[in-house]
């Protein structure tokens, strides 16, 4: 029953420490809200240049929020895109149409491509459209696409930090020593932490997931229940990793220094960038990070509307990470008491 005593104590500490509780729930919500506004805020005002567009096509080109401007035939396309505020230039050459995008903003790219395709195709079925980018590439994503990754990331981030710091404090304030001078077993202490924080992070994860889906209105094709399972599993791996790494930190500041080393890189591999496009020197790291599996599962459910059959391997791997971290934790405590 010592496990229960630890669980009880952790929950009481949370209840007394309102600021930490608020940080764990409100901070992710606030940041997600800001990001959703950053990505999906105002209507786009597009400016598209036209070169040698046949009048049959041109006369039909009228759209809300898009300004079409005719340019001279001998315009230097790249120079105009670089120096003026055009978002794209559509050029016709010998019946071939070519769309050159400014390209640095993925959300704009997709809108333009859709627009131009719908403008051209009803008129001239024979014309093929080739798309070029001045900057960037076609594979960049929008908020709906990275939203699930962000939800997973913020849960991971805050649970990692707070679990790590509170276990570290256990050491710096001397309570770990006192606990180890009592008959508590090492596994009882670790499991107490896992369950105590587990209860709290389940509540935290559900609030964040509910908010992201129903208030921020993230794309949600699958079942909310699966999202909850995935986020709790992400939180569990963050919690066990945080506790483990706290053994290597001397103080809170050093724990924070683990964030750029351990947490931020996971974000890169979590699907924000396609793994194939990441340099081979780095891309092998992806499958070694918990968030890689968590974010993939969240996308499967939220974007692709998939269910347990598609996500179970991800869940198993996430659970595997947690179990390995728990076992390593129990061993790491040997440093403080050999039995």
């Amino acid at each position: 029953m010592r496990v229960l005593a630890v669980v009880n104590r952790i929950l009481k500490q949370f209840l007394h420490d309102k600021r930490t509780m608020a940080l764990m729930i409100l901070a992710p919500i606030l940041v997600l809200t800001m990001l959703s506004l950053v990505f999906n805020g105002e209507e786009l005002e597009l400016k598209i240049g036209l070169i040698d567009v046949p009048s049959t096509v041109y006369t039909n080109m009228e759209q809300e929020n898009v300004a079409f401007v005719k340019l001279d035939s001998d315009t230097d396309v790249n120079e105009t895109l670089e120096q003026e505020d055009y978002d794209a230039i559509l050029a016709f050459e010998q019946g071939e149409s070519k769309l050159i995008l400014e390209g640095s903003d993925p959300s704009i790219n997709n809108v333009i491509i859709d627009n131009i395709k719908s403008e051209i195709s009803p008129n001239t079925t024979s014309v093929s459209l080739s798309v070029e980018h001045l900057y960037g590439s076609q594979d960049l994503t929008t908020f709906d696409n990275i939203g699930p990754v962000l939800v997973g990331f913020f849960i991971f981030f805050f649970v990692f930090l707070i679990a790590g710091v509170s276990f570290l404090r256990e050491r710096t304030q001397g309570t770990l020593e006192r606990l180890l001078a009592s008959p508590i077993k090492r596994w009882e202490l670790v499991m107490g932490y896992v369950i105590g924080f587990g209860v709290f992070t389940t509540i935290q994860s559900s609030i964040i997931a509910l908010y992201s889906i129903y208030v921020i209105d993230l794309m949600m094709e699958g079942s909310f229940f699966y999202v909850l399972i995935i986020t709790v599993m992400i939180a569990l791996s963050a919690l066990t990793l945080g506790i483990l790494l706290s053994a290597f930190a001397k103080n809170e500041l050093q724990m924070i220094q683990f964030i750029p080393l351990v947490v931020v890189p996971q974000f890169f591999f979590a699907g924000l960038f396609k793994l194939e496009t990441i340099s081979d020197y780095l891309s092998w790291l992806g499958p070694l990070t918990p968030l890689y599996y968590g974010a993939d599962a969240l996308r499967d459910v939220m974007i692709r509307g998939q269910g347990l059959i598609e996500i179970w391997t991800n869940l198993v791997v996430l659970g595997g990470f947690s179990i390995v971290f728990i076992i390593m934790n129990i061993f790491a405590l040997k440093k403080h008491r050999s039995i």
């Binding site: 005593a5 500490q13 001397g174 020593e177 180890l180 001078a181 009592s182």
Partner: protein
């Protein structure tokens, strides 16, 4: 009746640095054993090894005839470290309840034990106060109360009365003496000379070595000093 409770012979190294060198101790019930020595002499390392948190590099520690560290033996020890080791976000009572259940105080005895130890350290009226608002001395007293909670047979106290006023300190030492009479072994490190006078036996530690051991009177006679303080200084403390 006097029985041996702790029998130890330890050497401890941290890397190449020798912290304790061939320290031999035999401690019995019904005694308050005081460890005296300058800061950094190895007192804290020694008490940590005695209560099973740390292990010696060479040598052995046996408690009640069994080899340490051992979880069954650890149950019978109450340890109070130099750090207060309290959860500051929690109230005094929540701290006590937590450590009571960890150290195996029976549920039906908990409330009674908590009252008893809090009365002893004069904190009864602060049971429901958060520890973060406590003064240094109050934290020290609460920490001591926690070490006493599970009625241990051995009490290991690392500078227990730092920051506690003389009147209360006196009262706490009276309790130590009552506990001693009931058969408890108390190992205490201290810098306070009038506390050293109240110990049954003293061990002088310097540079990781136990350079003298005996009753306060024996130590004074050996060094031809009239007070423990002079004896302490004559050993180069």
């Amino acid at each position: 009746m006097t029985t041996t409770i702790i029998d130890a012979n330890v050497t401890k190294r941290f890397g190449k640095k020798k912290v304790l060198e061939d320290v031999t101790l035999t401690l019995t019930n019904n005694e308050i054993f005081g460890l005296l020595g300058p800061s950094g002499s190895g007192k804290t390392t020694l008490v940590k090894i005695l209560c099973g948190i740390d292990v010696p590099t060479e040598g052995h520690v046996s408690v009640f005839g069994k080899k340490m560290p051992d979880l069954e033996l650890i149950k019978r020890i109450g340890y109070m470290a130099q750090a207060d080791a309290l959860y500051h976000e929690l109230t005094a009572k929540e701290n006590l309840v937590f450590f009571a259940s960890i150290s195996g105080v029976k549920r039906n005895k908990r409330a009674e034990r908590i009252q008893q130890v809090m009365k002893l350290v004069d904190l009864e009226s602060d049971l429901n106060t958060k520890v973060e608002t406590f003064s240094g001395g109050m934290k020290r007293r609460l920490s001591l109360a926690i070490a006493l909670l599970h009625e241990p047979d051995i009490l290991v106290l690392d500078e227990p009365t730092v920051g506690i006023d003389p009147a209360l300190r006196n009262k706490i030492w009276d309790t130590f003496e009552i506990l001693k009479e009931s058969g408890v072994l108390i190992v205490v490190t201290t810098h306070v000379m009038d506390e050293a006078e109240r110990c049954s036996r003293l061990g002088m530690v310097r540079d990781g070595q136990l350079i003298a051991i005996g009753t306060p009177d024996e130590i004074k006679t050996k060094t031809e000093a009239s007070t423990i303080e002079q004896a302490f200084l004559s050993y180069g403390g």
